[in-house]
């Protein structure tokens, strides 16, 4: 038994409230997640102060922070975000909306699946990055390009999730619907819709994250405004502080969107179909 822990124990016994805060191990444990960021930050500051690398490659952390504040105050970030969010809003609405309809058709009708299934899956093999040059040649640098690409990125996961959810409506329930001779309206309203909501929502979550990625890609490669463009612009000017701020914004927005949808998905859990 080492001397220090005996001493700590004595102090802690006298003041029980102190126990939770002052145990050295507890303090270390609590602060551990901050260890790496702190070490990186310190190393970063040292490297920058010692000018180990030119400012164009490694701007000091303080500069990044002030740049962030400048960009927010100057409105570039807000403007860029407004454009980006507008693009993803429209694109996602079109893509996911049509995805829901097509996915439902694919799942409900064997004829549709037979004629369209293969074509869809072949086209789905091509990632958003593959569509970009083709669509660029067709639409140029127009806003339409962004909408179409984001819509495509939202479309594919939505269709897959919707058609799978519809096909996986538990057979026992479908048999009940047959025995009760449910008319089409009741079949959709009372069985298909409630049974597929959890699966479809998961697909929408995936679709949104794919749409976000497509947005960033198109903004970095074929745009003149937006969050992605801001980053590329910063890089062209060799202002890495802008690049880092851009990366942080992208990360935060992505996280916010996914967390928001995850919360809603949790609330939908109680719909889960259990025959």
């Amino acid at each position: 038994m080492n001397v220090r822990s005996v001493a700590v124990d004595r102090v802690v016994d006298r003041f029980p409230a102190v126990r939770r805060i002052w145990t050295a191990r507890a303090v270390g444990h609590r602060l551990l997640p901050l260890a790496i960021p702190l070490i990186v930050l310190i190393a970063w500051q040292c490297a920058a102060s010692l000018r180990l690398l030119p400012v164009q490659i490694l701007p000091p952390p303080l500069l990044v922070a002030t740049t962030a504040i400048d960009l927010i105050r100057g409105g570039e970030i807000v403007d860029g975000l407004r454009v980006s969010l507008w693009r993803i809003g429209i694109g996602f609405a079109i893509g996911a909306g049509s995805g829901l309809v097509f996915g439902a058709l694919l799942g409900l009708s064997r004829t549709v699946e037979a004629y369209c299934g293969l074509t869809f899956r072949l086209l789905a093999q091509i990632p958003s990055l593959g569509w970009l040059p083709i669509l660029l040649l067709i639409f140029g640098l127009d806003e339409t390009l962004k909408f179409v690409l984001i819509a495509k990125a939202s479309f594919v996961p939505t269709v897959i999730a919707t058609s799978e959810s519809v096909k996986q409506i538990p057979t026992p329930f479908r048999e009940v619907a047959r025995v009760l001779q449910l008319p089409a309206r009741s079949y959709l309203r009372r069985l298909v819709l409630p049974a597929t909501i959890p699966g479809i929502f998961g697909g929408l979550r995936t679709a949104l994250s794919h749409a976000w990625i497509a947005l960033i890609v198109v903004e970095m490669l074929a745009a003149t405004e937006g969050v992605g463009y801001t980053m590329v612009w910063g890089r062209t000017l060799f202002q890495i502080d802008i690049v880092i701020v851009g990366m942080a914004v992208i990360g935060l927005i992505g996280l916010a969107m996914d967390t928001g949808l995850a919360r809603i998905e949790q609330r939908l859990q109680h719909w889960e179909a259990r025959p």
Partner: protein, 249 residues
């Protein structure tokens, strides 16, 4: 309201094809069920009793032979035949009332009459007061009763029960059997029940059909004539032994 009519099953044969090999499930099954009867079908697993129910209710159309209700060949599901499965299959996102009302969606009846029928069906199975409950909030026995209400609200000529008490523990099973009897005596629906519990069959039925497996055939049909429904009475026990003997043959 559907008329009480005779169900005639004539020389029904059904064969599955598995890996290019024919697998006979039912072979030359013939049975007549008269209005108001309570017929139990007992047999080991694999004797096709559940398949027979599915053919009667119309979930399956592929077989040789005839199944006639009131002289007309059945084809596909209809309001004249209702079924209750072993798993209650209530929709978890609908309340009890909504689940039962679902059965009337295909009927062109005025709303008020539908609501009344639903209320009556729920009262018949003894679930009044639970109209707004969701299936997750009901016990196994209660959910099964709800499933029966859903089947009965359509006033079918024949009610098919596929091992309805299979998912219940033995304590609830005896209680449920009495509830089933009450419902049957009140409605006088014709009932065909599949069960593997011989005592249950003797307790509830007016006739017992013993089937044997591979391929599914009717081995014997035993009428149930008891002085009273007393599980300890000698005639009850004798009948039970007779059925068991037929099963073991």
């Amino acid at each position: 309201m559907t008329e009480f009519t005779e169900l005639a099953i004539r020389h029904v044969t059904k064969t599955y094809v598995v890996d290019d090999m024919p697998l006979p499930v039912l072979q030359d099954v013939s049975l007549s069920v008269l209005p108001g009867e309570f017929v139990s079908i007992v047999g080991a697993s694999g004797c096709g009793k559940s398949t027979l129910l599915r053919l009667i209710v119309g979930l399956d159309d592929v077989y040789r032979g005839e199944i006639l209700l009131g002289g007309t060949q059945v084809s596909g599901p209809g309001a004249d035949r209702g079924i209750v499965f072993q798993d209650h299959r209530l929709f978890p996102w609908l309340t009890l009332t909504e689940n039962v009302a679902l059965a009337l969606d295909a009927f062109p009846l005025p709303t008020e009459e539908k609501a009344q029928r639903v209320r009556d069906a729920i009262a018949l199975v003894g679930l009044s007061g639970f109209e707004r409950a969701r299936p997750a909030q009901l016990s196994g026995g209660m959910a099964q009763r709800a499933a029966i209400a859903r089947a009965l609200v359509r006033r079918p000529a024949i009610l098919l029960l596929d091992e309805p008490l299979g998912a219940l523990d033995s304590l609830n099973r005896t209680r449920f059997q009495d509830a089933l009897l009450d419902i049957w005596e009140a409605q006088r629906t014709t009932v065909i029940m599949v069960t593997h519990d011989v005592e249950e069959a003797v307790y509830l039925s007016t006739r017992i059909v013993v089937m044997e497996p591979r391929p599914g055939r009717i081995r014997s049909v035993i009428p149930v004539e008891l002085a009273a429904r007393d599980r300890a009475a000698p005639d009850f026990v004798a009948l039970k032994q007779r059925v068991l003997a037929d099963l073991r043959h």
